[in-house]
C-alpha cells in the first residue's frame, strides 16, 4: 500500500471521529450551559447528562475502538475502506448528530423544555440507530486485499 493511500485512509477516519466528537461535545455543552444559566435544575441536569452519555456511548466507543484498533494494523495494509463507504458513514453520522443537536437546541433556542428534548432525542436516536450503526459498521468492516 502506498503512503498517500494510507494517509488518505487515516485522514478519513480522523474526519469521522472529529465529526462525532464535535457533536458529542457541542450537545454536552448545551446541557452544561442550560444548567449554568439556571434554565434547568440539578435533577434535570443529571438526568439529561446521563441520557446524553448513554446516547453517544455506543457510537463514540465503537468509533474510538475502530480508530485506534485499525490504526495499529495500518502498516500491514490489511484493511482499506472504500471512498463510498466513508462518505456513507460520514453523511449518516452528520444527519444523526445534527438531528440530535437540533432536538437538544430546541430547549435552548426555541423556548422548549429539556424533558421534551430528551424524550424526542431518545425516540429519534432509536429510529435512526440502524442508519448510523449500519453505515459506520460497514465502513470499518469493509476490507479488501492489499
Amino acid at each position: 500500500m502506498t503512503k498517500s493511500a494510507s494517509m488518505s485512509k487515516s485522514h478519513n477516519r480522523t474526519w469521522l471521529i472529529v465529526v462525532w466528537f464535535f457533536f458529542f461535545l457541542a450537545s454536552g455543552a448545551i446541557i452544561l450551559i442550560l444548567y449554568l444559566r439556571q434554565w434547568i435544575e440539578q435533577d434535570n441536569f443529571l438526568a439529561a447528562f446521563k441520557q446524553w452519555s448513554a446516547l453517544y456511548a455506543p457510537y463514540i466507543g465503537a468509533i474510538t475502538l475502530f480508530f485506534w484498533g485499525t490504526a495499529k494494523k495500518e502498516d500491514d495494509s490489511k484493511t482499506i475502506a472504500s471512498k463510498g463507504a466513508f462518505y456513507l458513514a460520514l453523511v449518516c453520522s452528520v444527519i444523526w448528530n445534527v438531528v440530535i443537536l437540533l432536538l437538544l437546541a430546541h430547549a435552548f433556542l426555541w423556548n422548549g423544555s429539556i424533558e421534551e428534548s430528551m424524550k424526542n432525542m431518545i425516540e429519534v436516536a432509536a429510529l435512526l440507530s440502524w442508519l448510523v450503526a449500519g453505515s459506520i459498521g460497514y465502513y470499518f468492516a469493509n476490507k479488501r486485499p492489499a
Partner: protein, 236 residues
C-alpha cells in the same frame, strides 16, 4: 337561677323565632359532562342567601348549572336567628378539563386575619366574587362541619406579574389561594380568616413546576389578597 331561666327563654325564642326554612333541590342529580342541571331554592325567614359556587342569590329562584366535575352545592341562609345550611350534590359522569385543585397540605405559607363584614353571607359573596370574577380563578368551595370553616380553593393560575423582568432563568410563576373563613368564632361581625398561598415556578428550559420556597413572595401575595378583600368591603 335567673340567669338559667333567661338563657332558656332566649334559646327557646330562637328556636320558635325566625329560623330560616329552606327548600333546596337539584334536578337531575346526575348528568353527563357537558350537560346541565337545574338548581332551585326557596327560603323563608332569611335576610340573605348564598349558594356555594354561585354567589349571593335572592330568596327564591332557579339557575342552570353545568360544572366540569361532581359538585356539592351548599345553600347558606342567614337571619338574625343564625345561619342554616342545606346541601345538594350533583354527580357528573365523565369529566371535562383539568381536575386538579391543590390539596390543603400543599399550601405551606399562610397568614391569619380578622375580617370585618356586615354579614357572613356578604363576606362569602365578596370572597367568591373577588377570586372568581376579579382575579379570574376557578374556585372550588366546601364546608368543613368540624371546624365550621368555609373553604375557597382556587386552581393554580399563571400570573405574569409574579415574574420579575430581571429573572431570565424563570419562564413563569403560578399561584393558587386557599381562603378559610370561620363562622363559629364570629363575634361582632368579625370573622377569623386564614389566607394560604401556593406559588410554583417553572424554569426557562423545563416543563416541571416546582414549589417556590421564598416566603416573602408568598407573604406579599397573601397580603395583597387580604387588602383586596378589605378594599371590596370599603367600596361597598
Amino acid at each position: 337561677m335567673r340567669i338559667l331561666i333567661l338563657l332558656f327563654l332566649s334559646y327557646t325564642s330562637l328556636l320558635w323565632g325566625q329560623q330560616p326554612e329552606i327548600a333546596f333541590e337539584i334536578k337531575p342529580n346526575s348528568i353527563a359532562a357537558g350537560d346541565s342541571a337545574q338548581l332551585s331554592w326557596q327560603v323563608k325567614n332569611a335576610d340573605l342567601v348564598y349558594i356555594s359556587s354561585v354567589g349571593k342569590v335572592s330568596l327564591s329562584g332557579r339557575i342552570k348549572i353545568s360544572p366540569d366535575n361532581s359538585t356539592t352545592y351548599t345553600l347558606i341562609a342567614e337571619s338574625e336567628a343564625g345561619i342554616i345550611r342545606k346541601t345538594v350534590s350533583l354527580e357528573v359522569k365523565g369529566t371535562r378539563g383539568d381536575q386538579d385543585f391543590p390539596k390543603s397540605d400543599e399550601f405551606k405559607f399562610k397568614n391569619a386575619y380578622q375580617l370585618s363584614a356586615p354579614s357572613f353571607v356578604l363576606l362569602l359573596d365578596h370572597v367568591h366574587h373577588l377570586l372568581q370574577n376579579m382575579l379570574g380563578f376557578q374556585v372550588s368551595e366546601s364546608y368543613d362541619r368540624h371546624t365550621g370553616q368555609e373553604k375557597f380553593v382556587t386552581r393554580l393560575s399563571i400570573k405574569p406579574e409574579l415574574k420579575q423582568r430581571t429573572e431570565g432563568a424563570i419562564r413563569a410563576r403560578r399561584i393558587a389561594y386557599l381562603v378559610e373563613i370561620n363562622e363559629f368564632s364570629a363575634s361582632a361581625r368579625k370573622y377569623p380568616c386564614t389566607i394560604h398561598a401556593l406559588i410554583q415556578y417553572q424554569r426557562r428550559a423545563e416543563n416541571r413546576w416546582r414549589p417556590e420556597g421564598d416566603e416573602n413572595i408568598h407573604t406579599h401575595e397573601i397580603k395583597k389578597l387580604h387588602e383586596l378583600i378589605n378594599k371590596a368591603f370599603d367600596q361597598k
